[in-house]
Symmetry: C2
Subunit: 136 residues, 2 copies
Amino acid sequence: MKNSVVEFTIGELAGEADCKVQTIRFYEQIGILPNAQRTDGGHRVYGREDLRRLHFVRRCRGLGFSLDQIRVLLTLVDGGAYTCGEVLALTLEHLAEIQAKLADLKRMEQALEDMAAQCKGGTIPACPVIDVLLDA
Amino acid sequence: MKNSVVEFTIGELAGEADCKVQTIRFYEQIGILPNAQRTDGGHRVYGREDLRRLHFVRRCRGLGFSLDQIRVLLTLVDGGAYTCGEVLALTLEHLAEIQAKLADLKRMEQALEDMAAQCKGGTIPACPVIDVLLDA
DNA sequence: CTACGACCTCCAGTGGCTGGAGGTGCAAGA
DNA sequence: TCTTGCACCTCCAGCCACTGGAGGTCGTAG
């Protein structure tokens, strides 16, 4: 049955995975996606498995994993021999990174709010924000 | 009195402002800092005013302002004709960016925590984290 | 005067794409 | 069958904010 082999052009794949065509070519180039099959004319052709993999990558990116971290996750998945512990370790490591960034941003937020609170706006040709930044 | 004119080498300036020598040269190159004075031999020489400006830039960067935003702030300061309102507007705009990033990261944190909670670790050759990512 | 570290310029690389130039494939309508 | 026109192709440059290295020069302490 031919229709068990669903095929996509790169544009369709991009549509399904909600990313740009260039991004897919880029992933192929850096080895995150395998070299795609081609038509006689050289156009890339994809199947369900490719879509699944791309979805995985995009979901990981959406969670802030770097492409290097994703490469590791993919290696685990590709090998099929990953253990829950390995995956958990990577996840927790990434969670720690996220939490560090959160802490940084919260500090920035607080500092900006404090500065903004001092500033009355208006057309006064002076500003406590600048004063603080110039001579803290 | 000569010692009212404090002078720094680029290395000393970097030390004072807690940044790298290359970063200072980079700031000069892109016009964030003015072209430095030079010794006969071509080494850069800096004074108090340069240090103040660099401090300003580094503090802004520490708060997450982009170099483009800093360029605007510097133009205001340089003109000397800035108003509190202008500065407040830029500050609030940047605050909104920060808060958007915070919201993103909090979502990621939550998602990662949820996934990690499902994962029992250990040597089981399967993982709910991967399952979710592959087939959400 | 010599040694050595700090300085100089210029260029390439980072991450994760994005966009453009210039050319070709493919499918639908006339 | 031919043409139109869009989607595809490759290759290369650019974004941000630095960072690092190669290869060479300056300045100063001993």
